[in-house]
């Protein structure tokens, strides 16, 4: 099985992705959603909350598993994908698109320590 890994995104070993935009979008990878199976619930911070790179910022639950979400970058949350509260399956259907979770205002050099698409692809194959 092969998984989508968009070239322009950056990744955490724990399978979260971030864009390098300002604000940056954050979600979980295609590989992660496949491992979890049917996503049925997400718990996310609120707009205005601060998240910290490497720390848990929320929880994703599938039918069979509960999994912490780790922040790829630090910063203030500027938007939350509220569609996921009623349609958590968007995480399965479109993990890099409609299944996004947060938008965060990144600090300077926020993306330096993250995995490139190539490095992440290597990790999951």
């Amino acid at each position: 099985m092969s998984f989508d890994v968009p070239d322009a995104f950056r990744y955490l070993e724990s399978h979260e992705w971030t864009t390098t935009d300002d604000p940056a979008r954050i979600g979980i990878t295609d590989f992660a959603q496949d491992e979890l199976g049917d996503v049925v619930f997400v718990e996310l911070p609120a707009v205005g909350d601060e998240i910290e790179a490497g720390s848990a910022f929320g929880v994703v639950e599938s039918i069979k598993a509960v999994s912490d979400l780790y922040a790829p970058i630090s910063g203030e949350v500027t938007a939350v994908n509220e569609d996921l509260f009623d349609q958590p399956e968007l995480v399965n259907d479109d993990p890099f698109g409609d299944g996004w979770m947060l938008e965060v205002e990144p600090s300077d050099d926020a993306f330096d320590d993250l995995l490139s698409a190539e490095a992440y692809r290597e990790q999951i194959t």
């Binding site: 199976g37 049917d38 619930f41 929880v59 639950e61 039918i63 069979k64 509960v66 509260f85």
Partner: protein, 366 residues
């Protein structure tokens, strides 16, 4: 201990199944998605490999007495071709396991039984049966035949049609908890109208060597232990080792909501303790719980009353694929056990609103 594998481990791997360890067995947990598999069983038909279940045969002149004294139900009531759900209890009435007992055709004029305890319990109960046979001086043979059999469950409203399409006998005439032998793909199988999904369905025991042609003959949605779990929770069925367990969740049949398996007129291990509990009543009992707030109930979550005081704990939980709400099974103090009673479920330190719900969460189609 080395992991045990069902006869079709390689067939399932080739079908893309992911595998989990359960009761010492490496079993398929998911073939496509739990939602897809669950829906197939609720709406049409699906097949499960449940070869991890234990099989023990008991026969001989005093087989009936041995079975009757080690299980809670009235084994003497069984005729050949009938089956019965029962608990295996210890002296204090605590459930060691639940099981289905099949009375087989008589052998040399003597009764013969096959009983099916849960995964990984075969050695334990073979010993338990033999120890009691010695203690009571009974004439009966006890054989652990788990590795000789594969077991499949074909479940769902379309399961009778599926069975009728692959068997050469009218197996669909079987009533609930009746069983017979029939040929599938040229292989002789024992087929019972039993299941663990809350749907109409059949369970098929076939010789391990014949597992592949029998499995393939049914040609329907393969389902893993993931969907088996969501289906049985919706149906309000207990999972051994999770909703009761002699070490971690010691419960009696009355507490666990399976008092209907207890025949106090039958003399079995645990009978006196259960007779006492029957007269004094239980302090806590198994209930269904439905989330009112968003969230997913899980095993181990605490239940609290409206003042935040602990009143019980969940032993199973999931997001119900059929109802699209969080549902769980657990034990609560008896004064909070009535359907409609509001309770809180503590999810990661936060109290969520929930309500005690009558079981099953979803009624059967049959």
């Amino acid at each position: 201990m080395a992991r045990r594998h069902p006869p079709l481990a390689e067939v399932h791997a080739a079908a893309g199944a992911s595998v989990t360890e359960f009761g010492g067995w490496a079993m398929p947990v998911e073939f496509d998605s739990i939602r897809t598999e669950h829906a197939a069983v609720r709406e049409s038909v699906g097949i499960f490999d449940v070869s991890h279940m234990s099989e023990i045969e008991v026969d001989g002149p005093e087989a009936t007495e041995l079975m009757d004294r080690l299980t809670t139900n009235d084994v003497e009531a069984l005729a050949p071709g009938e089956a019965q759900y029962a608990c295996i209890t210890r002296d204090d009435g605590v459930i060691l396991d639940d099981t289905v007992i099949y009375r087989l055709p008589d052998r040399d004029g003597e009764a013969a039984y096959l009983f099916v305890p849960n995964a990984g319990h075969d050695a334990q109960f073979t010993d338990w049966w033999r120890e009691h046979r010695e203690e009571w001086g009974l004439d009966a043979a006890v054989d652990n035949v788990t590795d000789e059999w594969a077991m499949f469950a074909v479940q769902g409203p379309d399961s009778p049609a599926r069975i009728a399409a692959v068997t050469d006998d009218s197996v669909t005439d079987l009533g609930r908890f009746e069983h017979t032998t029939s040929t599938v793909a040229g292989c002789e199988c024992r087929i019972a109208r039993t299941g663990y999904t809350g749907e109409d369905g059949f369970e098929i025991l076939c010789p391990a060597a014949d597992a592949e042609p029998v499995w393939s003959a049914f040609d329907c949605q393969p389902c893993g232990l993931g969907a088996r779990d969501t289906l049985r929770i919706e149906a309000g069925f207990l999972l051994s080792g999770q909703d009761f367990d002699p070490d971690t969740v010691p419960r009696t049949p009355y507490e666990a909501g399976v008092g209907f398996t207890v025949d106090l007129d039958s003399a079995f291990v645990g009978r006196d303790a259960l007779a006492d509990q029957r007269s004094t009543g239980v302090d806590r009992r198994l209930v269904g719980v439905t989330m009112r707030d968003r969230g997913v109930p899980r095993e181990g979550y605490e239940l609290v009353d409206d003042t935040g005081e602990p009143v019980g704990r969940l032993t199973s939980g999931t997001m119900s694929p059929t109802l699209n709400e969080g549902i769980g099974l657990g034990y609560v103090a008896i004064d909070h056990a009535d359907p409609g009673t509001p309770v809180g479920i503590v999810v990661r330190g936060t109290e969520k609103r929930a309500v005690i719900t009558a079981l099953p969460f979803r009624s059967t189609s049959s």
